[in-house]
Subunit: 137 residues, 3 copies
């Protein structure tokens, strides 16, 4: 049985957004059984990660690392119709995840203590992103 919820995330531009509580609440009302929760981002310039949730410097370092790994405005990129951050956003998405699959134990997300669910906006401008959570039990 699949229980499905879709919701928008309004981003303020490039950066990581903690959606753990929003994902967890998609399980509200579900039976207290074991299963899997699937989180999906319907875009190719924003992605999902499981990341350390205690120290914000982890996500600052992650942002800085990816800014070096996939630099905006790389002159070798042919695809720049939407700006310097266009092609880097697609590459960052390919290097991370468009979906996460998380164990559910007795109806609740079974994440590790330090694991949070983040939507990573890769475009510099704000965007509305669509996320779907499917609970399979």
């Amino acid at each position: 049985m699949a229980q499905r919820t879709t919701f928008p995330i309004e981003t303020r531009g490039r950066g990581t957004y903690d959606i753990t509580a929003r994902v967890a609440s998609a399980l509200d009302g579900a039976p207290a059984t074991d299963g899997l929760a699937h989180v999906f981002c319907h875009h190719t310039s924003a992605s999902l990660i499981l990341c350390e949730n205690a120290d914000p410097s982890v996500r600052r370092d992650l942002d800085a690392y990816f800014a070096r790994l996939v630099p905006d405005g790389d002159p070798t990129f042919e695809h720049d119709a939407e700006g310097d951050d266009d092609m880097p956003a697609h590459i960052r998405t390919v290097l991370t995840q468009s979906s996460l699959l998380i164990p559910v134990a007795a109806g609740r997300l079974d994440l590790g203590t330090w694991q949070g669910v983040y939507l990573w906006e890769h475009r510099t401008a704000p965007h509305r992103r669509r996320v779907t959570v499917t609970f399979i039990l």
Copy 2:
């Protein structure tokens, strides 16, 4: 209930191959229910990505970027039994995905407007690749 289909993909060597329609057709005849479609590549030198499906320059830039990120013929690689592209193919696979999991709504793939499913052949020579689609409802 799991409905399973396996099919081969004949590649012409390194590059991305749009398999979205092939994956969608694996759902033909399935009940019009919600669920998840799993796409799996049974290899360690070819992988799967969700990528922008409108402008082919995105995939050209992606190919060029990965050619720089994981250069063929890197003299530090010990594993080169099958050639200069052998170890880079394994690393590219690890940096991308061996499987994708996509929401299914009313029996149809619920991809974003710009998301396509691509098999990425990382070896320079043509290969026959095996892909399995499993529909969980």
Copy 3:
């Protein structure tokens, strides 16, 4: 129906650990049906990969490549509370997988001939890692 098993993996520090047999044995006693096996690592400084299982030089090259891609002790990292390998471990986890989803055919893992399941410890010190296998049929 979801059948769930959790077990610890004791690592001896940074490196890849073959857990294919341990994952396969989580399916023991399951019905001989088709489905999917989900492997999840409940940590943000260790991850999972599907990797070539025949030649150990592949995993040595992979270790060496990632040591260059995400160098320990990078002076630009702000987050180093637990040492030089702290932030690199988080980045390596984000660049690889926290979970794998593998087809199951007639109750058995349907991996490709050369695909093995590895836990990748990214911290230099030994750790106890928790892994959960969920079989969905």
